[in-house]
Symmetry: C2
Subunit: 188 residues, 2 copies
Protein backbone atom coordinates (compact mmCIF):
# COMPACT_ATOMS: atom_id res chain seq x y z
CA UNK A 1 0.00 0.00 0.00
CA UNK A 2 1.29 3.42 -1.00
CA UNK A 3 -0.12 4.80 2.27
CA UNK A 4 2.25 2.61 4.31
CA UNK A 5 5.23 3.84 2.31
CA UNK A 6 4.12 7.46 2.66
CA UNK A 7 3.70 7.00 6.41
CA UNK A 8 7.17 5.47 6.73
CA UNK A 9 8.64 8.25 4.62
CA UNK A 10 9.45 10.70 7.40
CA UNK A 11 12.23 13.27 7.11
CA UNK A 12 15.14 11.46 8.74
CA UNK A 13 18.24 13.41 9.75
CA UNK A 14 20.31 10.88 11.72
CA UNK A 15 21.61 7.71 10.11
CA UNK A 16 23.80 4.66 10.60
CA UNK A 17 26.60 6.29 8.66
CA UNK A 18 28.52 3.05 8.13
CA UNK A 19 25.55 1.40 6.39
CA UNK A 20 26.88 1.81 2.87
CA UNK A 21 24.52 2.58 0.00
CA UNK A 22 25.93 1.47 -3.30
CA UNK A 23 25.78 3.48 -6.46
CA UNK A 24 23.42 1.08 -8.19
CA UNK A 25 20.84 1.75 -5.46
CA UNK A 26 21.08 5.46 -6.15
CA UNK A 27 20.75 4.79 -9.87
CA UNK A 28 17.56 2.80 -9.28
CA UNK A 29 16.16 5.70 -7.24
CA UNK A 30 16.99 8.21 -9.97
CA UNK A 31 15.25 5.92 -12.43
CA UNK A 32 12.05 6.38 -10.38
CA UNK A 33 12.44 10.14 -10.77
CA UNK A 34 13.10 9.70 -14.49
CA UNK A 35 9.81 7.82 -14.91
CA UNK A 36 7.80 10.46 -13.02
CA UNK A 37 5.82 13.30 -14.59
CA UNK A 38 7.62 16.38 -15.87
CA UNK A 39 5.97 19.69 -16.77
CA UNK A 40 5.69 20.02 -20.56
CA UNK A 41 7.72 16.78 -20.53
CA UNK A 42 10.82 18.99 -20.63
CA UNK A 43 12.74 16.83 -18.13
CA UNK A 44 15.34 19.48 -17.25
CA UNK A 45 16.38 17.86 -13.96
CA UNK A 46 19.66 16.00 -13.67
CA UNK A 47 21.29 14.21 -10.77
CA UNK A 48 24.68 14.10 -9.07
CA UNK A 49 25.17 10.93 -7.03
CA UNK A 50 27.45 10.50 -4.07
CA UNK A 51 27.87 7.30 -2.11
CA UNK A 52 31.54 7.35 -1.13
CA UNK A 53 32.77 8.91 2.07
CA UNK A 54 35.18 11.30 0.35
CA UNK A 55 32.48 12.89 -1.82
CA UNK A 56 29.99 12.79 1.04
CA UNK A 57 32.47 14.80 3.11
CA UNK A 58 32.64 17.44 0.38
CA UNK A 59 28.86 17.83 0.43
CA UNK A 60 27.99 17.74 4.13
CA UNK A 61 29.58 21.08 5.23
CA UNK A 62 27.35 23.00 2.82
CA UNK A 63 24.03 21.79 4.23
CA UNK A 64 21.94 23.24 7.07
CA UNK A 65 19.69 20.96 9.07
CA UNK A 66 16.37 21.21 10.88
CA UNK A 67 15.81 24.94 11.22
CA UNK A 68 13.55 24.57 14.26
CA UNK A 69 16.14 22.61 16.28
CA UNK A 70 18.18 25.70 17.05
CA UNK A 71 20.49 23.93 19.48
CA UNK A 72 21.43 21.23 16.97
CA UNK A 73 23.98 21.72 14.21
CA UNK A 74 23.06 18.64 12.23
CA UNK A 75 24.12 15.02 12.48
CA UNK A 76 27.45 14.26 14.12
CA UNK A 77 30.16 12.16 12.56
CA UNK A 78 28.88 8.57 12.69
CA UNK A 79 25.24 9.65 12.15
CA UNK A 80 25.65 11.44 8.85
CA UNK A 81 24.04 10.42 5.54
CA UNK A 82 25.82 7.63 3.71
CA UNK A 83 24.69 8.94 0.33
CA UNK A 84 23.33 12.00 -1.42
CA UNK A 85 21.39 12.68 -4.56
CA UNK A 86 21.86 16.28 -5.60
CA UNK A 87 18.98 17.49 -7.78
CA UNK A 88 20.20 19.86 -10.48
CA UNK A 89 18.46 21.92 -13.11
CA UNK A 90 20.11 21.82 -16.52
CA UNK A 91 19.87 25.46 -17.60
CA UNK A 92 20.56 24.54 -21.21
CA UNK A 93 17.23 22.66 -21.28
CA UNK A 94 14.90 24.99 -19.38
CA UNK A 95 15.07 27.78 -16.85
CA UNK A 96 11.80 26.75 -15.19
CA UNK A 97 11.29 23.26 -13.82
CA UNK A 98 7.82 24.02 -12.36
CA UNK A 99 7.14 21.39 -9.68
CA UNK A 100 9.29 18.65 -11.19
CA UNK A 101 11.74 18.70 -8.28
CA UNK A 102 9.03 17.91 -5.75
CA UNK A 103 7.60 15.11 -7.87
CA UNK A 104 11.03 13.61 -8.55
CA UNK A 105 12.17 13.87 -4.94
CA UNK A 106 9.02 12.23 -3.60
CA UNK A 107 9.53 9.32 -6.03
CA UNK A 108 13.14 8.99 -4.88
CA UNK A 109 12.25 9.08 -1.19
CA UNK A 110 9.41 6.57 -1.51
CA UNK A 111 11.77 4.27 -3.38
CA UNK A 112 14.36 4.70 -0.63
CA UNK A 113 11.82 3.84 2.07
CA UNK A 114 10.82 0.70 0.20
CA UNK A 115 14.49 -0.33 0.31
CA UNK A 116 14.67 0.16 4.08
CA UNK A 117 16.39 3.50 3.73
CA UNK A 118 15.20 7.00 4.45
CA UNK A 119 16.19 10.56 3.86
CA UNK A 120 15.51 14.22 3.94
CA UNK A 121 15.20 16.94 1.33
CA UNK A 122 17.68 19.62 2.33
CA UNK A 123 16.84 22.94 0.71
CA UNK A 124 19.04 25.05 2.96
CA UNK A 125 22.21 24.63 0.94
CA UNK A 126 25.19 26.93 0.39
CA UNK A 127 24.77 26.52 -3.34
CA UNK A 128 27.78 28.47 -4.62
CA UNK A 129 30.17 26.76 -2.22
CA UNK A 130 28.79 23.30 -2.99
CA UNK A 131 28.94 23.97 -6.72
CA UNK A 132 32.61 24.88 -6.37
CA UNK A 133 33.44 21.99 -4.04
CA UNK A 134 32.09 19.51 -6.60
CA UNK A 135 33.40 21.36 -9.67
CA UNK A 136 29.89 21.42 -11.10
CA UNK A 137 29.70 23.30 -14.42
CA UNK A 138 27.50 26.42 -14.35
CA UNK A 139 25.17 24.64 -16.77
CA UNK A 140 23.77 22.96 -13.68
CA UNK A 141 21.95 24.85 -10.94
CA UNK A 142 21.66 23.11 -7.60
CA UNK A 143 17.96 22.75 -6.76
CA UNK A 144 18.28 20.88 -3.49
CA UNK A 145 20.03 17.92 -1.91
CA UNK A 146 18.44 14.64 -0.89
CA UNK A 147 20.33 13.12 2.04
CA UNK A 148 19.99 9.35 2.29
CA UNK A 149 20.90 6.65 4.75
CA UNK A 150 19.65 3.96 7.05
CA UNK A 151 17.58 5.95 9.57
CA UNK A 152 18.80 6.02 13.17
CA UNK A 153 15.92 7.98 14.62
CA UNK A 154 12.24 7.57 15.28
CA UNK A 155 9.88 10.18 13.89
CA UNK A 156 6.29 10.41 15.12
CA UNK A 157 3.41 12.48 13.83
CA UNK A 158 1.48 14.66 16.24
CA UNK A 159 -1.75 16.60 16.18
CA UNK A 160 -1.08 20.25 15.50
CA UNK A 161 -2.12 22.88 18.03
CA UNK A 162 -3.16 26.12 16.38
CA UNK A 163 -0.58 27.04 13.77
CA UNK A 164 2.45 25.76 15.69
CA UNK A 165 4.19 23.78 12.95
CA UNK A 166 7.55 23.54 14.73
CA UNK A 167 8.81 19.99 15.11
CA UNK A 168 10.69 19.08 18.29
CA UNK A 169 12.91 16.39 19.73
CA UNK A 170 12.25 14.85 23.11
CA UNK A 171 14.72 13.63 25.75
CA UNK A 172 14.90 10.24 24.11
CA UNK A 173 15.86 11.91 20.81
CA UNK A 174 12.51 11.01 19.34
CA UNK A 175 11.49 13.52 16.67
CA UNK A 176 7.89 14.85 16.80
CA UNK A 177 6.21 16.46 13.80
CA UNK A 178 2.83 18.22 14.11
CA UNK A 179 0.58 17.72 11.10
CA UNK A 180 -2.53 19.66 10.15
CA UNK A 181 -5.77 17.68 10.14
CA UNK A 182 -7.65 16.63 7.02
CA UNK A 183 -10.47 18.93 8.09
CA UNK A 184 -8.12 21.87 8.15
CA UNK A 185 -6.62 21.30 4.71
CA UNK A 186 -9.78 20.46 2.79
CA UNK A 187 -11.36 23.79 1.87
CA UNK A 188 -14.44 22.28 0.25
Amino acid sequence: MIRDLILKNRSYRRFYQDAIIDRSTLTELVDLARLSPSARNAQPLKYFLSSDSATNALIFPHLSWAGYLTDWDGPEEGERPSAYIIVLNDNTIASNYFCDEGIASQSILLGAVEKGLGGCIVASVKRNELQQALNLPTQYAIVHVIALGKPKEEVVLETIHGNDVKYWRDRDQKHHVPKRSLNEIIVL
Copy 2:
Protein backbone atom coordinates in the same frame (compact mmCIF):
# COMPACT_ATOMS: atom_id res chain seq x y z
CA MET B 1 6.64 -2.24 -5.75
CA ILE B 2 6.73 1.54 -5.97
CA ARG B 3 8.34 1.22 -9.41
CA ASP B 4 5.22 -0.49 -10.78
CA LEU B 5 3.01 2.30 -9.47
CA ILE B 6 5.34 4.96 -10.87
CA LEU B 7 5.33 3.23 -14.25
CA LYS B 8 1.53 3.04 -14.29
CA ASN B 9 1.30 6.68 -13.25
CA ARG B 10 1.26 8.24 -16.70
CA SER B 11 -0.38 11.59 -17.41
CA TYR B 12 -3.83 10.54 -18.57
CA ARG B 13 -6.07 13.06 -20.32
CA ARG B 14 -9.03 10.96 -21.51
CA PHE B 15 -11.29 9.16 -19.08
CA TYR B 16 -14.47 7.13 -18.71
CA GLN B 17 -16.36 10.18 -17.56
CA ASP B 18 -19.28 8.21 -16.14
CA ALA B 19 -17.01 6.22 -13.79
CA ILE B 20 -17.89 8.17 -10.68
CA ILE B 21 -15.25 8.89 -8.05
CA ASP B 22 -16.77 9.47 -4.67
CA ARG B 23 -15.69 12.17 -2.31
CA SER B 24 -14.27 9.75 0.24
CA THR B 25 -11.79 8.55 -2.40
CA LEU B 26 -10.62 12.12 -2.93
CA THR B 27 -10.34 12.57 0.82
CA GLU B 28 -8.13 9.50 1.08
CA LEU B 29 -5.91 10.89 -1.67
CA VAL B 30 -5.59 14.25 0.07
CA ASP B 31 -4.65 12.38 3.23
CA LEU B 32 -1.64 10.98 1.34
CA ALA B 33 -0.62 14.54 0.50
CA ARG B 34 -1.16 15.57 4.12
CA LEU B 35 1.25 12.85 5.32
CA SER B 36 3.96 13.85 2.81
CA PRO B 37 6.92 16.13 3.52
CA SER B 38 6.44 19.88 3.66
CA ALA B 39 9.23 22.46 3.56
CA ARG B 40 9.85 23.85 7.07
CA ASN B 41 6.79 21.73 7.94
CA ALA B 42 4.70 24.82 7.15
CA GLN B 43 1.98 22.84 5.34
CA PRO B 44 0.47 25.83 3.53
CA LEU B 45 -1.28 23.74 0.86
CA LYS B 46 -5.03 23.22 0.97
CA TYR B 47 -7.37 21.32 -1.32
CA PHE B 48 -10.66 21.92 -3.10
CA LEU B 49 -12.38 18.67 -4.05
CA SER B 50 -14.84 18.19 -6.87
CA SER B 51 -16.51 14.91 -7.74
CA ASP B 52 -19.97 15.98 -8.89
CA SER B 53 -20.74 16.79 -12.50
CA ALA B 54 -22.01 20.31 -11.77
CA THR B 55 -18.79 21.41 -10.04
CA ASN B 56 -16.68 19.52 -12.57
CA ALA B 57 -18.39 21.52 -15.33
CA LEU B 58 -17.42 24.77 -13.58
CA ILE B 59 -13.77 23.72 -13.52
CA PHE B 60 -13.22 22.16 -16.95
CA PRO B 61 -13.56 25.32 -19.15
CA HIS B 62 -10.64 26.95 -17.33
CA LEU B 63 -8.08 24.24 -18.09
CA SER B 64 -5.78 23.85 -21.10
CA TRP B 65 -4.64 20.42 -22.15
CA ALA B 66 -1.56 18.84 -23.73
CA GLY B 67 0.30 21.82 -25.19
CA TYR B 68 2.08 19.73 -27.82
CA LEU B 69 -1.17 18.30 -29.26
CA THR B 70 -1.99 21.50 -31.10
CA ASP B 71 -4.94 20.02 -32.97
CA TRP B 72 -6.63 18.79 -29.79
CA ASP B 73 -8.66 21.03 -27.51
CA GLY B 74 -8.80 18.61 -24.61
CA PRO B 75 -11.12 15.74 -23.77
CA GLU B 76 -14.58 15.76 -25.27
CA GLU B 77 -17.79 15.39 -23.30
CA GLY B 78 -17.89 11.74 -22.22
CA GLU B 79 -14.09 11.54 -21.84
CA ARG B 80 -13.60 14.29 -19.29
CA PRO B 81 -12.28 13.87 -15.74
CA SER B 82 -14.84 12.64 -13.24
CA ALA B 83 -13.12 14.43 -10.38
CA TYR B 84 -10.63 17.17 -9.60
CA ILE B 85 -8.38 18.06 -6.71
CA ILE B 86 -7.45 21.72 -6.89
CA VAL B 87 -4.22 22.42 -5.04
CA LEU B 88 -4.32 25.79 -3.29
CA ASN B 89 -1.79 27.79 -1.34
CA ASP B 90 -3.16 29.37 1.81
CA ASN B 91 -1.56 32.82 1.71
CA THR B 92 -2.31 33.39 5.38
CA ILE B 93 0.11 30.56 6.24
CA ALA B 94 3.00 31.17 3.84
CA SER B 95 3.72 32.88 0.55
CA ASN B 96 6.28 30.27 -0.49
CA TYR B 97 5.43 26.58 -0.66
CA PHE B 98 8.82 25.55 -2.08
CA CYS B 99 8.34 22.15 -3.74
CA ASP B 100 5.43 21.01 -1.57
CA GLU B 101 3.00 21.02 -4.51
CA GLY B 102 5.09 18.55 -6.49
CA ILE B 103 5.52 16.23 -3.51
CA ALA B 104 1.83 16.37 -2.61
CA SER B 105 0.65 15.88 -6.19
CA GLN B 106 2.89 12.89 -6.74
CA SER B 107 1.51 11.28 -3.56
CA ILE B 108 -2.04 11.94 -4.76
CA LEU B 109 -1.40 10.54 -8.23
CA LEU B 110 0.36 7.41 -6.96
CA GLY B 111 -2.56 6.83 -4.61
CA ALA B 112 -4.98 7.28 -7.51
CA VAL B 113 -3.10 4.76 -9.63
CA GLU B 114 -3.20 2.23 -6.82
CA LYS B 115 -6.99 2.63 -6.81
CA GLY B 116 -7.20 1.92 -10.55
CA LEU B 117 -7.56 5.60 -11.38
CA GLY B 118 -5.23 8.00 -13.09
CA GLY B 119 -4.83 11.66 -13.72
CA CYS B 120 -2.87 14.60 -14.91
CA ILE B 121 -1.44 17.69 -13.27
CA VAL B 122 -2.85 20.64 -15.22
CA ALA B 123 -0.77 23.76 -14.69
CA SER B 124 -2.18 25.71 -17.60
CA VAL B 125 -5.16 27.12 -15.74
CA LYS B 126 -7.07 30.38 -16.11
CA ARG B 127 -6.61 31.04 -12.44
CA ASN B 128 -8.61 34.23 -12.01
CA GLU B 129 -11.59 32.85 -13.90
CA LEU B 130 -11.52 29.56 -12.00
CA GLN B 131 -11.19 31.38 -8.68
CA GLN B 132 -14.30 33.40 -9.53
CA ALA B 133 -16.25 30.42 -10.86
CA LEU B 134 -15.73 28.57 -7.58
CA ASN B 135 -16.10 31.62 -5.34
CA LEU B 136 -12.74 30.87 -3.79
CA PRO B 137 -11.68 33.49 -1.22
CA THR B 138 -8.49 35.41 -2.13
CA GLN B 139 -6.83 33.77 0.86
CA TYR B 140 -6.32 30.81 -1.46
CA ALA B 141 -4.10 30.95 -4.54
CA ILE B 142 -4.66 28.26 -7.15
CA VAL B 143 -1.40 26.36 -7.59
CA HIS B 144 -2.59 23.79 -10.13
CA VAL B 145 -5.39 21.35 -10.80
CA ILE B 146 -5.16 17.56 -10.64
CA ALA B 147 -7.65 15.99 -13.05
CA LEU B 148 -8.71 12.48 -12.07
CA GLY B 149 -10.69 9.66 -13.63
CA LYS B 150 -10.65 6.13 -14.87
CA PRO B 151 -8.15 6.32 -17.76
CA LYS B 152 -9.47 5.68 -21.26
CA GLU B 153 -6.17 5.91 -23.08
CA GLU B 154 -2.94 4.02 -23.34
CA VAL B 155 0.28 5.89 -22.71
CA VAL B 156 3.62 4.41 -23.72
CA LEU B 157 7.13 5.59 -22.96
CA GLU B 158 9.58 6.04 -25.83
CA THR B 159 13.30 6.59 -26.18
CA ILE B 160 14.04 10.25 -26.74
CA HIS B 161 15.80 11.39 -29.91
CA GLY B 162 18.03 14.37 -29.29
CA ASN B 163 16.13 16.93 -27.26
CA ASP B 164 12.74 16.31 -28.86
CA VAL B 165 10.57 16.06 -25.76
CA LYS B 166 7.25 16.50 -27.56
CA TYR B 167 4.76 13.73 -26.90
CA TRP B 168 2.48 12.61 -29.72
CA ARG B 169 -0.64 10.59 -30.35
CA ASP B 170 -0.79 7.93 -33.05
CA ARG B 171 -3.70 6.93 -35.31
CA ASP B 172 -4.99 4.53 -32.68
CA GLN B 173 -5.07 7.40 -30.16
CA LYS B 174 -2.20 5.84 -28.27
CA HIS B 175 -0.18 8.52 -26.50
CA HIS B 176 3.64 8.35 -26.81
CA VAL B 177 5.98 10.09 -24.39
CA PRO B 178 9.75 10.33 -25.02
CA LYS B 179 11.83 10.03 -21.87
CA ARG B 180 15.49 10.90 -21.40
CA SER B 181 17.78 7.99 -20.57
CA LEU B 182 19.35 7.36 -17.18
CA ASN B 183 22.73 8.02 -18.74
CA GLU B 184 21.62 11.44 -19.86
CA ILE B 185 20.22 12.55 -16.52
CA ILE B 186 22.99 11.29 -14.24
CA VAL B 187 25.71 13.92 -14.32
CA LEU B 188 28.14 12.02 -12.11
